[in-house]
């Protein structure tokens, strides 16, 4: 532990600067205030179906806000109280989700497509979206994000972000349609509105996670994962909306099922990763890079850059889709895939490049911290474990060996030990880079926790 004093360089908050919790509360308050005011104004002045949804959807938004608050607070409590708080938060989030689905059914689709079509559409989108979330979470090979936060990000994308953009886009569309010349100019305006409003609405979720859950937001990799989860949530709700809407439009022609099925394929298969998930992943990448940059100016530039790229990627799809028309023949099947690949592919490739670089860099940094911790001889990480912990594949191999040796219990014990060791290395890494504001005692506590888990695993 000789090197410990030099690692004591935490990153205390300068006097006079608001805490990140303060910034988060301010952002959340502004979001809620804008949402409430605009929804009421929308309802009074536009009185359209979407406006009514946004007004009644405020109840769902309030439930999401309350549920999220309770879930986040639950982790500051002792384990006994935590479980109760988590259940309460989970119930509220579940209620909000159901309420929102119900509102969409009742006010938009029940009169035309019917609740059964909406339910079938939702059921059709569930497995593909769940697969997307599973893949995205698995991408973080070193320290997987907790499901609770991935699902909170997903819920924000599905319920809060969609609710926020309905009023904004309705208003923008009304004003633009009354003022602009129809055609490419109006299309560009609509695309600007979608890119700007939807990415802002989604990105706020990632920003709030960055501000509130700093311990679970380590770097660019985490940012991309949370961003993609928010995007998948948004895509889920948008898919249901489009499927039911197009079913209602085309069912009198006898092709309602085909229209809905086509939307499902385009959004839930072809566009699952090539769409909202890619756009919002850029916001997450910007915030994740900002997490590790020194200096407030650079942080702001990185965050703004993420938003800018997301808005541009989203804009390019919405504005220029019409330049790639799809033929009604069999060739159209090839064209639709090529169109997605050409228009969104480069952006997806760029976000994958950032992700792979982040994973590589994170892996190197953690391996270095494993070596240092082992060299200090504190007992949390043994020299023989360094090579194992540095490789996700070797970690899995050792867990599988534990499984065959001692069953699922041994597997879980080793998994917990490895997770705690990774947490310790991550804490060391952030402290070394002076990007952590927790007291140094937290690292000692993690070390003691690892040693305790090692004792349990060996028992």
């Amino acid at each position: 532990m000789n090197a410990t004093p030099s690692l004591r360089a935490a990153n205390p908050r300068p006097r006079g600067r608001p805490s990140r919790y303060g910034v988060a509360i301010a952002i959340a308050a502004v979001v809620l205030a804008v949402l409430v005011a605009s929804s009421i104004l929308d309802y009074v002045f536009l009185d359209t179906i979407p406006a009514r949804i946004s007004l009644y959807g405020l109840a769902a938004v309030a439930l999401v806000a309350l549920g999220t608050y309770i879930v986040v607070r639950a982790f500051d409590r002792d384990p006994a109280a935590r479980r109760r708080q988590l259940i309460r938060g989970g119930v509220l989030l579940g209620l909000a989700f159901l309420l929102w689905l119900l509102l969409i059914d009742v006010f938009v689709f029940t009169g035309s497509a019917g609740p059964s079509v909406a339910a079938i559409s939702a059921l059709a989108c569930l497995p593909t979206t769940a697969f997307g979330l599973f893949v995205v979470r698995r991408l973080d090979r070193n320290e997987k994000e907790p499901w609770r936060l991935v699902l909170v990000a997903f819920a924000w994308g599905a319920i809060v972000a969609t609710s926020m953009v309905i009023w904004g886009e309705s208003l923008w569309s009304s004003v633009a349609q009354a003022a602009l010349v129809p055609g490419p100019g109006l299309d560009a305006s609509t695309a600007f509105s979608a890119g700007l409003l939807e990415e802002l609405a989604k990105g706020i979720a990632v920003l709030l996670l960055f501000l509130v859950m700093r311990n679970e937001f380590d770097d660019v990799v985490d940012g991309i994962i949370y961003g993609a989860a928010v995007g998948l949530g948004f895509n889920f709700m948008e898919s249901i909306a489009y499927m039911t809407n197009l079913y209602a439009i085309f069912s009198p022609e006898g092709v309602g099922g085909f229209a809905a099925g086509f939307q499902w394929y385009a959004r839930q298969v072809l566009g699952l990763f090539f769409g909202h998930a890619t756009y919002t992943a850029f916001i997450g990448a910007g915030i994740g890079i900002a997490r590790q940059l020194p200096g407030r100016r650079r942080k702001v530039i990185a965050i703004a850059s993420g938003f800018l790229i997301a808005i541009a990627a989203h804009f390019s799809w919405d504005a220029w889709l019409a330049f790639f028309p799809i033929e009604g023949s069999a060739l159209g099947l090839v064209e639709i895939h090529l169109r997605t690949l050409i228009m969104t592919g480069p952006f997806t490739a760029a976000v994958i490049a950032l992700l792979l670089s982040g994973i590589h860099y994170e892996g190197q940094a953690l391996a270095e911290q494993f070596r240092r911790e082992a060299a200090e001889g504190g007992g949390a990480i043994m020299p023989a474990e360094v090579a194992i912990l540095s490789s996700p594949w070797q970690r899995l191999t050792h867990r599988m060996k534990a499984l065959s040796r001692g069953g699922i219990r041994a597997y879980m014990r080793l998994a917990r030990l490895q997770t705690a060791q990774l947490d310790l290395a991550m804490e060391r890494w952030h402290r070394e880079r002076q990007e952590i504001d927790t007291p140094f005692e937290a690292e000692g506590e993690l070390r003691r926790h690892v040693i305790e888990l090692r004792r349990i695993a060996a028992a």
Partner: protein
């Protein structure tokens, strides 16, 4: 030599590389948005307002066989009903190029006349909405009808506009 010894190699920080990569993507994003803005300005040219107003007499039920309209001016139609707008071209100055278009809720053009001088369009006062190929009925949603002034073949000003609703039932 002391000065040389004091020079330490700059520590390589991969986060900076990631940050720079992000800034490169930023340049691409700015280019994309600039092209979009250029497109918007090209089709929404500033300073094109002439103050000229066209007269849309009304939107009526339409019989495609006799090519005549009937009934009162309406804002709502059933999807099985055919509809058409009637324009008074004589209300426009003779020396401008104009056209008239119907857009459905997917922003597809589903009916148009022109472009031409108002006198050239005098015998095309009725502009019907066409049912999309392969479909039996009009698609439901809000339909936008516009009379536009063109400059160099590009619509630059809306001289009149009407929105009607085609109901789902």
């Amino acid at each position: 030599m002391d000065r040389l010894a004091a020079v330490r190699p700059a520590t390589y920080d991969p986060v900076r590389t990631l940050f720079r990569t992000l800034l490169i993507f930023d340049v691409v994003a700015i280019l994309v948005l600039a092209v979009g803005l250029g497109e918007f300005v090209y089709f929404e040219q500033p300073g094109q307002s002439t103050g000229v107003k066209a007269t849309i007499v009304g939107v009526y039920q339409y019989d495609p066989i006799s090519r005549t309209t009937s009934g009162p001016d309406r804002s709502t139609f059933g999807r099985a009903q055919q509809l058409a707008a009637v324009v008074d071209w004589t209300s426009l100055p003779p020396n401008i190029t104009v056209d008239a278009r119907w857009y459905d809720s997917f922003e597809a053009i589903v009916g148009h006349v022109g472009p031409g001088m108002p006198a050239q369009l005098a015998d095309q006062t009725t502009i019907p909405v066409g049912v999309p190929t392969g479909l039996k009925y009009n698609l439901p949603g809000h339909y936008l009808f516009v009379v536009e002034r063109l400059a160099n073949g590009v619509p630059v000003e809306v001289l009149a506009r009407r929105i009607v609703l085609v109901e789902r039932s």
